[in-house]
Each structure stands twice: as C-alpha cells, then as structure tokens.
C-alpha cells in the first residue's frame, strides 16, 4: 500500500488544507444555494444547511481514516482495492467528476456574469482568458494552487460583511416557528444543501502533497466548519430577508441581497461582489482542474502538462456549448447528483471495503 512519491519541496504545510478545503467549497454554490433547500424545508432550511454541514464533518473524518491508512491518493487506493482494471475504471469516473465540476463552476459563473453584468459577454474570450489564468496558476505546481486558494479565501473575505445590510431589513420572526416542517422535509433540504458543500473530495487527490498529512485533519475540519458557519449565517439572513415564496423565485438570493448594500461612494454593490467573485472562482477551477490533470497523469503516465492543456480546451468548449439556462440547470443537477452519491454512498463504501480488505489480509 504505497502512494505516489512527492518530493518535499512540492509539498504544502498542513494548515493550508484549511484554505484548500474551504475555497473549493465556496464557489458558485453560495450565490444561490438558498432556493434549493428552502423549496422543501421553508423557514427551517437553515437546519438543513447546518445538518448537511455536520454530516460532511463525518465524511471528512472518513476520508482521513481512509487516506491515513492508504498513504496515497484515490488512484492508488482504487488500484489496491479493486485491481488495475476496475480500479482504473473507477478512477476515471472520479476524474470525469472533477472535470465536470470545473465545467459547472466556470459555466455557472459565466452565466451569473451574463445575467447580472454583461448580457453580451463573449464567453469564448472570457472563458479563454480565465482558463489561461488557470493554466498560468497550474503551471506553478501545487504550491501555487494552494497559494491561490489562500488568497481566494483571504482577499474576498470582506464580502461576509455585506451580509450586514440585509440584517437591517430582515424580519427574524420569519424563522419562527422552528420545526414547522417534518423531518422528511428537512432531510430533503439536507440533500439539497449538501450540494453546495461539494468539492472537498479533491482531498483524495492532493493528500500526498501535504507535509505530515495526518496533522492536516483538524485543518480540513476547520476549513469545512467555516464554510458551515458562513452558509448557515447566509441562510438565516436570507430567510429573514426574503419571504418563502419570493425565495422560491430567486435563483441567486445572495446576489439579490447585495443589491441593497449602499455606501456613500458605492451603490449597486453586486457589481463589485460579482467581480470579486472571480478570485473565489479561480481556486475552485484550479483545484478541480489540477485534480483532474493529476489523476490523468497518475492513470496514464503522461506528463501533467500534456494532460492539463487538452483538459482546459475541453472545459472551454463544453462550457461555451451549454448555452441555455435549461442545460446549465441540467448540468448542475447531474454534477450535484453524482457528487451526492459520491460523498454519501461511495466514500462510506470505500471505507468499509478498505476495512474489510485489511482485516482479510491480516488474517492471511
């Protein structure tokens, strides 16, 4: 059971996992995750968000249990558990999932820009420049990817403050009565909310790049915890600010709340917000494309450069082809569905299989 060898100079310190986990979770999801869970859970949706967050804490714990035993990444794990061919097949599914995630992120962001800022944005040019930026980042190796995820968290963090404005106008009695939805409804909400937490599974790829990876566990949990706190906060504020019916028709509730932010020198804050969001999206794209490229490299024994460039071109083409709102929704839905099963079904299964196999091997 041994993973890939990564030289020390390319490794990052364990505390950066905080940023890696947090930045890949907060992406396009936070712009409009509220609608999905509040559709079923109504004013109890914040409990769904919190519940989903807590459940993912357990999943992260499982991931670390698996990886600490494996001391490698998901490619070597698959190979060790299922053999070369089935393992390879499963690995390629995971890689496709990562790539689909990056396409979803880029496409959704471009859609937000088209709807809110530039209706006639040239998505080929914009996507091209954005992916060029991604490539520039990736060419610096994983250290730079970790660096950009650090800045992707620190620099736009001021946006959390903008959640103050809707508080002034919110009706917090809307949160009452608590528990006026059935457990099943809240559970459905959890299912919806868990989608905005996805992305942390890239941990499976960059685990070997962490110095003393066992120590990074608490940082991964902390990064996720911050996401949970932010999401819950945003959810509570959103429920207070919107009525349930209005929220159902608001695709990007967070962006809508930005509209009321007003300062002496700035109105229409959403322009600044969406523009700053590029720094949030960049690490998202970088980490997922990096994970995809790294996976291909490990699987096919090609250089990561020659794996990444076609990947980026593919992402550009696919994300520009999905032009309609319907198809973007479909894309989002499928990626999140796959993500949901990956997180809640596949990871526990991996854990069990690894556990059983290690027992069997020991007995032999």
């Amino acid at each position: 059971m041994s993973g890939p060898i990564v030289r020390d100079q390319y490794k990052v310190s364990p505390f950066l996992v905080f940023y890696l986990v947090h930045s890949v979770q907060v992406g396009v999801g936070v712009m409009g995750f509220q609608r999905i869970s509040s559709k079923v859970a109504g004013n109890d949706a914040w409990m769904s968000v919190l519940g989903a967050g807590l459940s993912i804490h357990i999943i992260i714990y499982l991931i670390y249990k698996i990886l600490n035993k494996e001391k490698g990444d998901i490619i070597s794990l698959h190979k060790n558990l299922f053999g070369k061919w089935i393992g390879g097949l499963l690995s390629s599914i995971v890689i496709v999932y990562f790539i689909a995630m990056s396409i979803t992120v880029l496409r959704t962001y471009i859609e937000v820009i088209q709807v809110w800022m530039f209706p006639d944005l040239n998505k080929w040019l914009f996507g091209g420049v954005f992916l060029l930026l991604t490539y520039y980042c990736l060419s610096g190796g994983f250290r730079v990817v970790a660096g950009i995820s650090f800045f992707g968290v620190v620099l736009p963090f001021y946006l959390v403050l903008t959640m103050v404005f809707p508080i002034f106008y919110g009706h917090f009695q809307d949160l009452l009565p608590v528990f006026n939805h059935s457990v099943k409804e809240i559970y459905e909400g959890v299912k919806g909310a868990s989608l905005s937490y996805l992305g942390f599974t890239t941990l499976f790829m960059y685990y070997p790049f962490i110095k003393e990876p066992e120590k990074s566990h608490r940082w991964a949990q902390a990064g996720h915890l911050v996401t949970v706190v932010i999401y819950t906060l945003v959810m509570v504020v959103t429920i207070a600010y919107f009525s349930t019916d209005q929220l159902e028709n608001t695709i990007w509730a967070t962006l809508t709340t930005w509209k009321i932010a007003e300062m002496p020198f700035v109105q229409r804050f959403e322009y600044i917000g969406i523009a700053s969001w590029a720094i949030v999206i960049l690490p998202n794209l970088c980490i997922t494309v990096w994970a995809g490229g790294r996976g291909i490299r490990r699987l096919l024994k090609v250089s990561q450069k020659s794996a990444t460039i076609p990947l980026l071109i593919l992402i550009l083409i696919v994300s520009s082809v999905f032009a309609e709102r319907k198809s973007i929704d479909l894309l989002n839905e499928y990626t999140s569905k796959v993500g949901y099963y990956f997180v809640y079904v596949y990871i526990p299964m991996l854990f069990v299989v690894q556990y059983v196999k290690s027992k069997v091997v020991k007995e032999k």
Partner: protein, 496 residues
C-alpha cells in the same frame, strides 16, 4: 558562443614575455624604463595610467637604483612593498600588469619577472545618499570603489564572522564581485545559491551590479525586481545581521540584497529610525498608495465605461459634468494622460536637473490645464492620474516604483475589456505571478504566503524593536535568535 572572443583576446597566442611586452608597447600609455649601473641592470615596464607615480619613484626606483640587484629574489626581499610576485606565467603577468602592477626584469630576454603592485586608487569621495536619503541616520553612501564599499561595511561590523567571498566576473571587464555574509548566521544554502549563480554568469561585461541582478534573478521575465538594491552601508549591515546575503560589485555604488520579499520593497530604511507607530503608519500609507496607484485609473475607466450605476447619483453628477465635453471614451482619455505622465517622467529622467525642473512645470501645469481646457481630458481624471503618479513614487526602492507604473497598463486594458471583472482578472494574474516568484529560491510573497506569523512583526507594519528578537523565518538562518527578549521586557507594573 564566445569563440570570436577567444580569437582576439587570448594571451595564449603570445608565446613569451618579450612578445607580450612587444604587444603591450602598441599602447601609448605603456612605459618602459631601463637602467644599467654598477654592472647590474634592470628593466621596468608599466602602464602609466594605472600606476601611482609617487611610490613608483620614491620606493621602487630608489631601491632598485641604490642597491645592487643580482636576482629577482633580491627585489622581493629588498623593496619594501608587500605583494610582490615572481613568476613566468604569462597569464598572471598579463592580468597583473593590466591592474597596475609594474613588471621588473633583469635581463632583456628573460622570461621571468617580478611584479610589484603599485596601483593608483582613484575613487569618488564617500558622499551623501541621494536615492535613499533619510533625514535621520547615517549620511554615507556607497561609491564606485569596491574597497571603499567593503571598508564602509566592515567598519560597522567588526567581527571575524563577516566573510567576503571574492570572484571575478565578465570576460572583458574582469569585474571584482564580492559576496558578503555573516558566517554562522546566514543560511549556507542561500550563500551557496548566490555563489553558484554568480559563477554561472558568462558574459563579457559586468559594468554594474544591476547587470548581476538581472543575470541571477530567479525569474528573468518578471517585471518585479527580485533582489533589493541599496546604496546605504547601514542598510547592508542591518540585513547582514538579519542573515541575508549581500553582493557588492566593483564600479557600482549599489549593493544587492537577497533573498528578499515583496514587502521589503515597501519598507524604507528610515522605518527603523523612527518610533514603531510612526513607521507602521508610514508603511500602511505606502501600501495604500501602491494599491491606489495601480487601481484607481483602471477603476475610473471601468466604472465610466460599464458601471455607471455603481456610483451614487451625487457623485455621478460631478463626474458627468466634468466629462460632458470630452469626445474620447474613458480608456483613450486615461491612456492619453498616463502616457503624458510617462513622457514627462522619462523626459525628466533623461534631462539635466535644471532643465528637468522646467520640464516638470511645463508638463504638469501647462499640458495638464491645457488638455482639460481643450476638452481632451476631464478634471477628475487629471487629478486621479496625477495622484496615482505621485503615489507610485512613494515606493522606497526605485526599481519597484517603475514596476508599479508599468503594472497599471495591463490593468487599464483589462478594465476596458470587462470593467471591474477585468480588473479582478488582472489582479488574479498579478497574484499568481507573485506567487510563482522566488528570490534566491525563497518564496517572494512571504510572510503573507506562505503565512509566517513570526515574520509579520516586520512586514506590513513594524512592531517595536524589542519584538524583533528573532531573525526572519524566510531566511532559514543558522542562528535564529537575535537577542534575549527577557532583558528587554518592561516590568508590568505601575511606577510607584
């Protein structure tokens, strides 16, 4: 690559000393002198322009003519000058005579000779620092002479740990370059990196330390300087004590310091001479000035091209009324003014000081007001551009302020393309670029990324000196402790 160079220069072609002397005689300032008395004879050859005449006449000639000389060893024993060499190696002879040694032969056809050092040392007096002037603090600056510069450092740091590793660079200029560091403090890896990179330099001329800087930078295609250059010996001493490595080059009044970080370019040495609160405020203002300088004109272009809605109506009316008569789109307006400022600066830099001042007045006042009145640019933009130009000059290191002004142009283009979104994209490019940069193999953005809380004591703000008890983690020094903090601790009680 340097084959042409070998053909013309190689002393291998000259077979022996008489041939070399014949070759040297082609120069007008190459002198020779013969003396034949009391049976012994000697021949003297030297470059008049390289040799100090007084010691030549007073010591060398007097001794040689008074004492009977039978062998070259006699010269070495009797002439009261240290560093006399007796050799027949043509390469050494050639090299030494070109640096102000006198060749002495006893016999016109002998291949062996004595080389007596007698260099003339002409150097500018140590003068005030002009680029990095500070009101308080030392008023000495480096000069072009390497020996004087080393002296300026050594007298401030009289410890034997201070090492000065010497090497010669440039196939034609044969420039002496010295790497200085404190043994036992500076990380050996850093020192070796510097030495290795210097040794790998194969160019024909090293006329200034900035040539070295370009040649040993980690990323040579980056507009960002990756080594700090300074003309202050006290700054050099201070960074040596921190554990950094300093490169001094003969003929250059600028020392190079590495490894460095981005924030070091925004710290003036004066920051250490004033109270920490004042120093920290100055630094914060400088950081603000840099952000302002890079971002304000692009933000103007972005908002006025795409996001009118962003500006509150009161402010918007001011902007609109100032732009009412302007026929140009904001990007052209901004580019026009930015170029005008760049022209002014470039013209000012090329002209003699006195004419330069007139330039400033003509450019600043006449062109500025005239272009507003002519309706080519708006008042508001004129203010913005002038302020951002001013802000870019607050950077203490001259090279960095050049870079900052340059960075503005891609931002402008991106702002015109996609408004604020373009600015963020360009900013991301900048951050990724900075993330990838390294200075002598150490991360350039430290202590921000990788985040090292210990090094934040002297980064964006400067904490009191008693907090500066450890050397920067960035440098991975061999001895991390600067002083014992306990001695400096204040007693935590009210005075009775």
């Amino acid at each position: 690559m340097f084959r042409w160079f070998k053909k013309t220069q190689s002393p291998d072609k000259l077979k022996n000393l008489p041939e070399l002397i014949k070759n040297l005689k082609e120069s007008g300032d190459f002198f020779h002198f013969e003396s034949k008395q009391h049976g012994s004879s000697f021949f003297l050859y030297y470059f008049k322009t390289l040799v100090h005449e007084t010691p030549l006449n007073e010591h060398i000639l007097r001794f040689l003519s008074q004492e009977p000389i039978t062998s070259l060893k006699d010269i070495k024993d009797k002439v009261p000058i240290t560093g006399i060499i007796i050799t027949e190696d043509l390469k050494i002879i050639c090299e030494k005579v070109m640096t102000g040694y006198v060749i002495v032969r006893l016999n016109e056809n002998s291949v062996e000779c004595a080389l007596i050092p007698c260099q003339v040392k002409k150097a500018r007096q140590v003068s005030q620092p002009e680029v990095e002037f500070t009101v308080v603090g030392s008023k000495e600056a480096f000069v072009e002479s390497l020996d004087t510069n080393i002296h300026l450092v050594r007298k401030r740091l009289p410890v034997h740990e201070l090492k000065a590793y010497e090497l010669t660079l440039g196939k034609l200029t044969n420039t002496k370059v010295v790497v200085m560091y404190l043994e036992g403090i500076a990380n050996e890896e850093n020192v070796n990196t510097v030495k290795q990179r210097l040794e790998d330099i194969h160019v024909d001329q090293v006329v200034d330390s900035s040539v070295i800087m370009q040649l040993i930078s980690d990323n040579r295609n980056s507009p960002f300087p990756q080594l700090v250059d300074t003309e202050r010996p006290d700054r050099v001493v201070s960074v040596l004590c921190e554990g950094k490595v300093v490169i001094l080059s003969d003929g250059s009044p600028q020392a190079l310091i590495g490894p460095t970080t981005l924030v070091e370019f925004f710290s003036a040495f004066e920051d250490y001479f004033v109270n920490w609160i004042v120093a920290s405020t100055a630094r914060l203002i400088r950081f603000f000035a840099i952000l302002f300088s890079i971002l304000v004109t692009p933000v103007y272009v972005a908002t006025l091209t795409y996001h009118y809605e962003l500006i509150p109506s009161d402010l918007l009316s001011t902007l609109v009324s100032s732009r009412q008569r302007i026929p140009l789109p904001p990007i052209l307006e901004a580019l026009f003014l930015e170029l005008a400022i760049e022209l002014l600066r470039e013209a000012g830099a090329r002209l003699p000081t006195k004419v330069g001042q007139t330039m400033g007045i003509v450019g600043g006042i006449v062109i500025g007001t005239a272009s507003v009145e002519a309706g080519l640019t708006s008042n508001v933009l004129l203010i913005i551009v002038a302020l951002s130009a001013l802000a870019s000059f607050t950077t203490p290191v001259y090279r960095m302020s050049n870079t900052i002004r340059l960075t503005r142009f891609p931002f402008l283009i991106f702002a015109h393309l996609w408004g604020l979104l373009g600015i963020t994209l360009c900013f991301s490019f900048l951050i990724v670029h900075l993330l990838k940069l390294k200075s002598l193999g150490r991360p350039f953005l430290e202590p921000i990324y990788p985040l090292r809380v210990k090094d934040l004591k002297d980064a964006i703000i400067r904490l009191p000196l008693r907090f500066q008890s450890t050397r920067p983690v960035q440098l991975q020094t061999e001895d991390t402790k600067r002083f014992n903090i306990k001695i400096h601790k204040d007693k935590n009680d009210f005075h009775e």
